[in-house]
Symmetry: C2
Amino acid sequence: MNRDEPYELYYWPGIQGRGEFVRLALEEAGVEYIDIAKDPGGEEVAAQKLMRAMNDASLVTPPFAPPFLKSGDLWIAQTAEILFYLGSRHGLAPADEAGRLWDHQLQLTIADWVVEIHDTHHPLGGAFYYDEQKSESRKRSKLFCEQRIPKYMGYFENVLVRNPAGNRYLVRNALTCADLSLFQVIEGLQYAFPKAMKKHADNFPNVMALHGRVRNRERIAAYLASDRRLPFNEDGIFRHYPELDG
Amino acid sequence: MNRDEPYELYYWPGIQGRGEFVRLALEEAGVEYIDIAKDPGGEEVAAQKLMRAMNDASLVTPPFAPPFLKSGDLWIAQTAEILFYLGSRHGLAPADEAGRLWDHQLQLTIADWVVEIHDTHHPLGGAFYYDEQKSESRKRSKLFCEQRIPKYMGYFENVLVRNPAGNRYLVRNALTCADLSLFQVIEGLQYAFPKAMKKHADNFPNVMALHGRVRNRERIAAYLASDRRLPFNEDGIFRHYPELDG
């Protein structure tokens, strides 16, 4: 990659979505990047640029879906893979194989959790609007709040408690992309399911402490306070529908 | 890893499930492995061994869910990550970074597809039996058969057509784990949704040719004909419920 050429992040405008996991890594790394979703021409222009890149028939490594990152000649898709790539380049992952694999494994488990979070409001799939699948969403969300939130939070609590290097980070004794992503999931769940999260939080003190620690990091705090951070809304992954918050 | 020590694959007994993607890679690689699911003591003993490993409190890198692979001192979970690991060790992935990333990206897209396939019979989540979510499954499966099968097959067709090294493999001019996994998805979809797949197959000739090519590889053909290959059944990911086959 030409070091003078900034990364380009392609994602849908108007939502945090999966693009946000990549943004948090880029912001923490302090690197320059062009966020196509925030094109100065507005959201319509941004969406056109995204679609043009997606549908570029000359691309021999096409992405299946956003987000994708352009890094020089490389086009990299799949959130967990983008973070795998950025992590190794910007000190946000261990350098050795065992450490990188463990970090990536946690990232992939977070990705599974994000799919389940999306499915709380879209159990029948993305082709129906939420309003067309409200009763199914209620059933799925009830189980999600009662069983899946504590299952995943309990898992990451365990990972922190068992970390031989201490309970400050998921992997060893330094921040990785997985910590940033876990912060984002907790932040999003607190937005989407405030009642359920209030009920569970006390049982997972190390996860909640990690969330607070990431939130207060200098670059992350500055990013969250900036207008680069979009607010959560009901078009993204984390949606607050009071009727789903068990 | 001690080279004399075979891999140990941990997965649920009685189903192909996600473990099968790992088995296909191990079989193609021709390496020795212990398949915990096929413990000579039977399925109950196998399940106990799996649970004991899952719940081992001394493990500092615990898996969230099966499958996981023990390779010497390393415990590796997440299907796509296990294949990333095995691919680089056994000539089933490119050696350079760009090639490995592209191969892993395809593997992660297959993993997304597998989640959607599972959700055709469990749209409300794994806590309800299929019989408790039949009408929801019909809605989700209809869309899956009409929209998602051609969407994913069209994507992989494109990847094959655009491959500058030819249309025999997904990545360059050699077999990778992603080819083996795409074979397994097509095989499973043909079992689960024979009508829908018959309708779509002709539109994606390169994907179907790849499926046939993998099926006829010497080691894969021998594995499929052996009793190590469990048949598909209605406890796994790919389930044949005629009422869902649009």
